[in-house]
């Protein structure tokens, strides 16, 4: 498998805090990987750095052989690296369909059309409908985003990301705040989507059942440092990881 994303020595300080300490990661195409670590380890910051949302102090990000280190976040999205958020980031006054439809307009580059009726784009309409079908939100497409249950807002957030035709999907705690049975559903959904859309998925997660259930590679961040990286069985027995994060009794 070829490498799709190569992060070299990415470094970031927030004042005196070293939130990313020369992190180097190389992600293979089609990989399903997890990033774990205690709160404040710099996991979300890591996403912010590689998506261009905050500039890094040092290091490079190579995506599909292209240096995207200092690209704007919207350009990186257009290139195919798309993220979903820890706290669902939606357009709350709009319907579920319109949330996804706007992403579809962006995907088909119809967003700047200024005199056409916004619903006039069949390709975008069909694409939005297809994504909602695939992700299982069709039944509530006419509800406002603000009326959804917590679990469904997380799914809608992912639906928006998927509508943008990502090659790499970054998910920040896809099961945050969910009930246990919802988490299991989400886990299966993620795996299904990963395979169906032939994605490269990187997700941040605190639920170890999910991490060890679907991740092929697990990377452990502690205090901005990558302390371990490898398949689940390797991480499970990694002494530093157990000490720093997993704890002895968990596994």
């Amino acid at each position: 498998m070829s490498v799709i994303l190569e992060i070299k020595n990415i470094d970031k300080h927030f004042g005196g805090i070293h939130v990313a300490n020369h992190v180097s990661i190389s992600v293979k195409k089609g990989e399903m990987s997890a990033i774990i670590g205690p709160n404040g380890a710099g996991k979300t910051t890591f996403f912010n750095l590689i998506t261009g949302f905050i500039p890094s102090d040092d290091g490079t990000v190579i995506y599909e052989d292209q240096d995207i280190t200092s690209e704007k976040p919207e350009k990186i999205v257009k290139l195919g690296m798309v993220r979903a958020f820890q706290v669902s980031s939606l357009f709350l006054e709009e319907t579920v369909f319109d949330n996804v439809y706007l992403a579809a307009l962006s995907n088909f580059r119809k967003n700047a059309k200024i005199f056409a009726d916004r619903m006039a784009f069949k390709d975008a309409r069909e694409h939005a409908g297809f994504i909602l079908d695939k992700i299982g939100l069709s039944h509530c497409k006419d509800l406002k985003a603000s009326e959804l249950s917590h679990g469904d807002t997380k799914i809608l957030d992912i639906a928006i990301a998927l509508t943008l035709n990502p090659k790499i999907l970054l998910l920040d705690e896809p099961t945050a705040g969910m009930a246990p049975d919802e988490r299991i559903k989400m886990m299966h959904l993620l795996k299904e989507l990963h395979e169906y859309f032939q994605l490269t998925t990187i997700f941040i997660e605190h639920d170890m059942d999910i991490v060890f259930g679907i991740a092929e590679i697990i990377r452990v961040l502690v205090q901005g440092q990558l302390i371990a990286e490898g398949p689940p069985d390797y991480i499970r027995q990694h002494e530093t990881v157990i000490e720093a994060y997993l704890g002895k009794e968990v596994l």
Binding site: T51, F53, K72, P73, E74, K75, V77, K78, V82, R83, F85, S89, L90, F91, L92, E93, E94, D98, L102, A103, L105, S106, N107, K110, N111, A112, K113, I114, F115, A116, D117, R118, F121, I160, A161, L164
Partner: protein, 309 residues
Amino acid sequence: MKKLKDYLPWVCYFVFFLGILIVDPGTHYIHLVARVIIFSLYAVAFNLLYGTTGLVSFGHALFYGIGAYITGMLVKATGPEFFLLFIVLGAAGAALVSVFIGLLTLRLTGIYFTMLTLAFAQLAWGLTFKLYHFTGGDDGIQAIAKPAMLAGSVTKYYLFCFIVVTICMYILWRIRRSPFGSVLNCIRQNPQRITFLGLNVYKNQLKAFVISAFFTGVAGGLYAGLDGSIHPDMLHWPTSGNAILMATIGGMGTFFGPVVGAGILTGLETIVGKYTEYWSFSIGVVVLIVVLLFPRGVLGIKRLAGNKN
């Protein structure tokens, strides 16, 4: 059914603004309605920024004033034959200035954006006072002639305003319903997500700012012809404040709300203004009632009721 509901405000718009010609209540009232329709365009253009994109500009008087001054000065310099062209040039001038101001102010958000737009408008207001030979100072520009076709009766000029405003309103209405309009509406709700849809928030805001300034300039140009006189007060901050008031009273979340707001504001000024010079007091009362009881504005009431059913 939904289609019909979409066009209902347009029907009301035509019934009111054309009906007034049929009723023909006399020059005084035609003049009043002419002001309402010009302010309507001003308020609707402003609301593209305010209610839709979520940017509170406190400097729209600047674009309104530029439209008026360019139109007035061109008429003074050359003659009134190309009055319509001068209005377009005035609007283009407003748009051009808005590009520079937008580039500078849109880097800031929230109250900082608002204050900076106010600062620019006040600066321009001060300049129109000082540059006496160019702008006429506090005398403004008087006796701006209208082309022969529009001169004579206020009804003719009202009809002219009606046609120009209606065309502009239609364009703004189409913009609001376009994909671009949706993007603006969603920038207000969640700019971060817009970025992660692969869209540039700043560029879209700038486009909205320039479009808004252009149509505000058209409104200013039309006003220059109404009384044939303009004055620096058009650039003063209360003019900017009026735009916010009209949009808020009428309903910033609706397209036609600002039109209703323009009607209420102008109506209050005329009716209450007959009895007391403190007519602006009544506006304060109305704003208080609207903000406390109908936070979505007058046209927003209907929407609220519709949601409950």
